[in-house]
Amino acid sequence: MIKLKITIGYKEGVEDPEGLAVKNSLKLLNFGNVNSVKVLKVYEILIEDTEDAKKEAEEMCDRLLVNPVIHDYRIEMERV
């Protein structure tokens, strides 16, 4: 089996209301030293062994998980 780990976040310059809200809340909770908050999502996908896991992961991103206009993503793989 292969474990794909796809990490997705907003591109630089896309303002994320969730990150902003978390940052503001943390500040109000007296974490005064918080500078910025970025929220990422990780999909850990277990697939059967295959030749081209990387390509498959990319296709998953393309079809379902990611919009390249606003998202950056990173794929990691590991045989398990």
């Binding site: 310059g13 896309v14 303002e15 209301p17 809200a21 919009n67």
Partner: protein
């Protein structure tokens, strides 16, 4: 050719006076102005006369003001000719950000619908969300409390093969899920119910989706705020979100043909922030209530540039603005960026010195930014400063004198060759199943159940009506806007790309007819509409021809019925790789419900009640779901008789007033068969129907024709005679009686055609559309 004006700040002078045409066009392109040759020449000659060169800020401001989005340069002429200025006593105020119409003696309702097509195609989630945010501001800035949202959304078919997609284009499923999620997350978070809309699939929209969102609000007559400032020395206060680089060139973006390479400008993409909007609504309404707001407008396309220019122009004053006073998200923005940024969640308020502090206190209390960024002046010019440097000094009349084009148009009459193929008679039980599970007939439950359509507790008719756990589609949704009054508003949205693509004129009439039908079904008096015209590339004369025909159809219908368009929106350049979408007008229609306790819904109510079909059925199968499934072409589309529409509507309302009618549903996509099935599913009550009394034709045409101006009504059995007397002179056909065995049975005389369990129909109709 370009010269820096100041060492410290990025401000430039552009030497347009010395440029030749190709250099001018180069500037238009490199600065993202989206202005064409004539427009650039006009700018050059203006500055030659003035004896100086413009700054980059000035050029950007002109680019914004002359964009299609802001000045309607291609459509103004057509709109004037057909759509606007329809005389009707209910109109209270038009021509501002949203239409204002009389609700009762003390109140008006305010509404508008707007497209957000291009941004939603590029980024479905953020595009749709900011569309909702923008339309809310349009209503809010009139001083009205937003009370409901509408979304009409159009995509390619969800079963489209991935392999066939254009490179770089997202699949309809991705776009659909993203758009619905964007509307859901924004609408639900800001707490305004999304109560009505359209969900439509057709490969017309594979490469250019449509997202049309509408908002309606309610307001005391005394509280209506104009989108203008007409006093000198007023403070211009920018409230709400901060200004960032986001959304720059969103407006000029909408004036261009869609071509992926060039237009994927990330800066035009925003996600919107409902958690700023929610308190912003409270704060603005509080300020309105305090009567300290002298003028207000939302920042939408064109940002500060548009809002300051338009408010001043409308009020007959000028303004001085100090750009360094604008609160920024990023510190290093250039002045021109600040001036035209389209960052969301911002409004401009004009307030006198005397009331300024009060206004600031209100926004402070809600934890929102509010900054005085300038003042109005007597001279009708816009003067802009950035840290002491004058970066703009232009006559308002020049900036706002955008070009108006009378573009060449060619009307392609579809009926030059009339095609009308007639299929062999089908197997009825089979074709019925296909129709009821057609993507555009199926239940849209999986969409509207994701929208909180009941927040605020005022939604009386919801998108789904009937018994809990069952339920069927409603024709219009009804809300009760005032706490202490039973008067209500019915809201619906209609469109039919199949018909408008075959025949823009009759198609437009059809969607008008459907809007009226939906309102009447709910016991609402059709009152006013907003039109949203989604069209292809206007530089193509055939597309302009479609615009003329659509506008002509909509205009004629509205005049005949006395129902005005009080606001609207034109979205052009819906084109991809040279293929324009078919003309797709969408309407948002509003009706008055005199007493919400008397609303009528589409679900069948009582065993033994007789059921009637109102008005004539014709073999007009062009654009029907039936022919779509069979893959058959016909140019014969449903026509509309406006006199009949007016008269029958008023008779039905009269019958409802006398309580003869227990349920009512109009006949639209899928025809009579679908209407009966939908009425059954609300409560699980079946019907024994005989269609032999309908005009003589083959049974499939009777059942699946989409002829206009027709309704099915369930009559209280105790009032059948009274109903018949009242409807004297109108063509009505008794269809049958409601039964108590949960079966939909249709025969044509002695011939049995369809027999289905209502629960079986629900399984087909109610399954997920994904």
């Amino acid at each position: 050719m370009i010269e820096r004006m100041d060492e410290r700040y990025p401000v430039y002078r552009i030497r347009v006076r010395d440029m030749d045409e190709s250099q001018l066009m180069e500037i238009s392109k490199s600065m993202g102005l989206a202005l064409n040759r004539e427009e650039m020449l006009r700018i050059r000659s203006y500055f030659r006369d003035l004896g100086r060169d413009p700054t980059d800020v000035e050029l950007q401001a002109i680019g914004q003001a002359w964009s299609e989005h802001c000045c309607y340069k291609s459509s103004k002429y057509v709109l004037k000719k057909y759509i606007v200025g329809i005389d009707a006593p209910q109109v209270y105020l038009v021509g501002e950000d949203a239409g204002v119409v009389e609700f009762d003696d003390d109140h008006v309702y305010v509404f508008k619908m707007e497209s957000h097509n291009h941004p939603s195609f590029v980024e479905p989630y953020g595009g749709a969300a900011t569309g909702v945010g923008g339309i809310i501001r349009d209503v809010l800035c009139m001083g009205a409390k937003p009370i409901a949202l509408v979304d009409s959304i159009f995509f390619g078919r969800l079963d489209y093969p991935y392999e066939n997609l254009q490179k770089g284009t997202k699949h309809p499923k991705f776009l659909f899920n993203g758009v619905v999620a964007g509307i859901r997350d924004y609408g639900n978070r800001v707490g305004i119910p999304t109560i009505s809309g359209i969900t439509y699939f057709n490969n017309f929209f594979l490469n250019n989706i449509l997202v049309n969102v509408g908002c309606i609000g309610i307001c005391k007559k005394d509280d209506v705020i104009h989108s203008r400032v007409n006093k000198v020395n007023e403070n211009l206060v920018l409230v709400g979100g901060k200004t960032g680089r986001d959304g720059i060139h969103g407006v000029t973006f909408a004036s261009k043909v869609f071509d992926r390479e060039e237009n994927v400008e990330r800066t035009a993409v925003q996600l919107g922030n409902p958690i700023i909007k929610e308190p912003l609504i409270h704060a603005v309404l509080e300020a309105v209530d305090e009567k300290i707001v002298d003028g207000m407008k939302d920042l939408g396309g064109g940002g500060l540039s548009s809002v300051v220019g338009e408010m001043c122009l409308a009020g007959g004053v000028g303004a001085e603005v100090f750009l360094e006073k604008v609160p920024l998200k990023e510190s290093n923005m250039a002045p021109w960026e600040i001036w035209i940024s389209e960052s969301q969640e911002r409004m401009m308020i004009a307030v006198s010195d005397e009331n300024l502090q009060k206004l600031m206190d209100i926004f402070n209390h809600w934890g929102l930014e509010a900054s005085v960024i300038g003042r109005t002046i007597k001279e009708k010019v816009l003067k802009l400063y950035y840290n002491g440097i004058k970066v703009m000094d232009l006559d308002l009349s020049f900036i706002t004198s955008g070009p108006v084009y009378c573009r060449p148009y060619r009307i392609k009459y579809p009926s030059q060759v009339i095609l009308d193929t007639i299929p062999p008679e089908p197997s009825y039980n089979e074709i019925f199943d296909k129709i009821i599970s057609h993507l555009n007939v199926k239940s849209k439950y999986s969409v509207f159940s994701q929208y909180d359509h009941e927040v605020k507790g005022n939604t009386i008719i919801k998108p789904l009506n009937g018994k809990i756990g069952m339920g069927t589609h409603s024709d219009a949704s009804v809300i009760k806007p005032l706490e202490n009054k039973y008067r209500g508003l019915a809201i619906t949205s209609t469109s039919n790309p199949m018909l408008t693509s075959l025949d823009p004129y009759w198609g437009a009439m059809s969607i008008f007819d459907e809007a009226v039908r939906n309102l009447v079904s709910s016991n609402a008096i059709p009152h006013s509409m907003a039109d949203n015209l989604n069209m292809g590339n206007p530089e193509n004369p055939e597309v302009m021809g479609q615009l003329y025909e659509v506008a002509r159809g909509l205009g004629e219908a509205a005049r005949a019925l006395g129902i005005p368009y009080v606001s609207g929106n034109v979205s052009l350049y819906n084109e991809n790789n040279g293929v324009s979408i078919p003309p797709t007008p969408t309407l948002m229609a509003v009706g008055i419900v005199k007493d919400i306790r008397r609303v009528i819904t589409t679900s069948f109510k009582g065993f033994g009640n007789p059921v009637y079909l109102i008005n004539e059925t014709r073999r007009e199968m062009g654009g029907s779901i039936y022919y779509d499934i069979l893959g058959i072409e016909s140019h014969i589309v449903p026509k509309v008789n406006l006199v009949e529409l007016r008269e029958i509507s008023s008779m039905i309302l009269k019958a409802m007033g006398k309580r003869y009618i227990k349920s009512c549903h109009d006949i639209s996509e899928g025809g009579l068969a679908v209407t009966l099935a939908e009425m059954s599913m609300g409560t699980g009550i079946g019907i024994d129907a005989d269609i032999s009394s309908i005009e003589f034709m083959r049974s499939d045409f009777k059942l699946f024709s989409e002829s206009n101006t027709r309704w099915v009504v369930e009559i209280d059995r105790d009032y059948e005679n009274e109903f018949l007397n009242l409807m004297n002179g109108i063509k009505i056909h008794k269809i049958g009686y409601l039964n108590d065995n949960g079966i939909l049975r249709i025969r044509d005389g002695r011939r049995n055609i369809i027999k289905k369990d209502v629960e079986y129909i629900r399984d087909l109709w109610g399954g997920s559309i994904e």
